[in-house]
Subunit: 379 residues, 2 copies
């Protein structure tokens, strides 16, 4: 699958036009959290305009001589939206990891493809001239720094860099992923709630073992369908959500209208729940979504429909545009879709780290596709 | 003045016996804060027993080729007392500063001579085999990381290291001393309230420009007098406090009994005030001490007697033993002495950073010796 096969004839480049598609797809994979990619997309496009397109490499092209640097933002998305990331932060972070590890980065990578953190590595790649690896360590968005496939495979965060727009630089060597999260979170709060972070920087062989390949390409495919670009141009607006489900092996869980919404900002997280009333084929049914930054739990008439680490995305019913947990509104008409997460999250260690129990939900995990099949049988 | 001229015949070594003298003097210079040196003294003595005495060098012996590493503890003293510092932390901190700066430390130094932070560099010197510089950057104890003479001279904290007993290591390059304090404080809280810190590590020429020379020797002289060692062996217990005042150009401000005590632990600081009723020659007079970790403000019958950055120490009236703000008790009979701070603190920039206004006291600073002369005239 190519990043830009249709347009540029070169599937190895991210151009300005590609950024909008990737950003929209990343918002879907953000499952309501991960921060709005909008500001990051503006920065990435400006830097591509100034410095030229970003070169994309596949995980299979990496060698042990490569040093791959995942770079992204940490902090409350509501702060990030207000703060235009200083470009100097990106270069400062890359310089800091090079100085602290004495290894020269050969590529950057998104740590999480979902949400705004898809854009920061594109901006960093444009600025530094480094290629970007078509992969990430979540295949979605998650709220905590240790919720990454490196951690599942037993790799620690390694040398961790935080830089802020004041010019402060903090390099940690935490003993494990949980300590990395604790230290980074407290430093970020002190830095004003938002910072640029590098962690899990590893040689090419570790990235090959751990990363989820092809996720930038997947984001781009999603964006193309929802924007009606390329082969999707034929699709009517309301057919795009079904086309998306086909493309992603996703399940269209519910069409409905938001009738109740509780949402609080607590402990750095946006927590809450939304109640939906069915429309169209789902008229008469009720649906409930629980979220903590990301959409984590979906129940139809009290019966489990999808649960983390599987992906639950809320899309505008008319336009297909993804809706974040922060922008969800009373009365909104939405489609909820459920997508299988990457198989690395479906292992016992994956479910321990990002399954329902980790987030305090007392439900047993089951694959979204099995839950859909079960419902079909019952109907 | 020698560190150990009387005993070892070698004024360039700190032996086990010297540690107790320095620790007691450091507690006086701690002016009620800075943490109890007791646990640190035990560790320093054990390491000297294992690895031999610590070599002392003077500030005048440093050259630009030297790389002097101030090392100490950061955190609430009440946590530090409970936690026996892991020796591995000291070596980890020295290794971290070497790796981050690519300069090999040639000497350690106390960042503050007052309280427990006098002992940590002695322990680090014994463990590493490095000499210790007979100097510090406060000449007393202060509660914030940027309250150092390097800061007064316009030097930033440089590369800053924090390590904890879990094995976590955090290396910062904060933009200034205030950011260093903020970042270090929040990381320390996350680390459990206490950590080993290196900051203001500089070449020998900067230490010569900025440090307050001879403060380890001063601590030792104070300790020797209060312990009745050497030439002080002749002194009766109750004459030692006067001998100390002679030695330090200090003023015996008040002898009294604690009749009221307010003390809270807030925001990581021990804050409060003590009221005293005069005894002996001071019978009939009243005295008030205000403290924030350290004793900061002393008033006799409502008239200013001494104020930060000058030193205010509270000693047991019978034994001369220094009393911390945490161990001050109702009914205690004490002598309060006031000592001139180093001249670097008496400059406009020094008073800005550590004068009464910085701590929220609405009094005008005046030298403790002028206040004493004024009182004498009035009497």
């Amino acid at each position: 699958m190519s990043i830009d096969a249709q347009r540029s004839g070169d599937d190895r480049l991210i151009t300005e036009a590609d950024v909008d598609e990737i950003a929209l797809g990343a918002a879907v994979l953000g499952t309501g959290g991960g921060g709005d990619p909008h500001v990051g997309a503006l920065i990435a496009k400006r830097l591509i305009r100034l410095h030229g397109p970003v070169r994309v490499i596949g995980v299979d092209e990496l060698s042990p001589a490569d040093f791959v640097v995942p770079i992204g933002g940490i902090g409350a998305p509501s702060v990030d939206v207000e703060r235009i990331m200083a470009e100097s932060e990106l270069l400062a972070a890359l310089e800091a990891i090079e100085r602290a590890t004495r290894r020269i980065p050969t590529a950057v990578m998104p740590i999480e493809v979902g949400g705004g953190n898809s854009m920061i590595p594109i901006a960093a790649a444009a600025l530094s001239g480094l290629p970007i690896v078509d992969a990430d360590a979540m295949g979605r968005a998650f709220p905590e720094a240790q919720m990454v496939t490196f951690h599942l495979a037993g790799y620690g965060p390694g040398t961790t860099v935080l830089v802020d727009h004041h010019g402060n630089e903090v390099v940690s060597r935490p003993v494990d992923g949980a300590w990395s999260e604790r230290l980074a979170r407290s430093v970020t709060v002190e830095m004003g709630g938002s910072a640029t972070m590098i962690d899990y920087a590893y040689g090419g062989e570790v990235v090959q073992e751990c990363a989820i390949p092809g996720t930038l390409t997947a984001a781009k495919r999603i964006g193309r369908i929802l924007l009606g670009h390329g082969e999707s141009a034929e699709l009517r607006d309301d057919a795009r959500i079904d086309a998306l489900c086909d493309e992603l092996d996703a399940v269209r869980l519910f069409d409905g209208k938001v009738t109740d919404l509780q949402r609080q900002f607590e402990g750095g997280f946006t927590r809450g729940a939304a109640e939906l009333e069915g429309v169209g084929d789902d008229r008469g049914a009720r649906f409930r979504l629980d979220f903590q930054n990301e959409m984590l739990l979906a129940r139809r008439d009290g019966v489990l429909a999808a649960v983390t680490p599987d992906l639950i995305a809320v899309l505008d019913l008319a336009t297909g545009a993804p809706i974040t947990t922060e922008s969800l509104r009373y009365g909104a008409r939405v489609a909820v879709i459920g997508m299988p997460c990457h198989e690395k999250w479906r292992t016992p260690v994956g479910l321990d780290n990002a399954g329902p129990a980790h987030f305090g939900y007392d439900v047993e995990w089951a694959p979204v596709e099995s839950l859909a099949a079960r419902r079909k049988e019952a109907a």
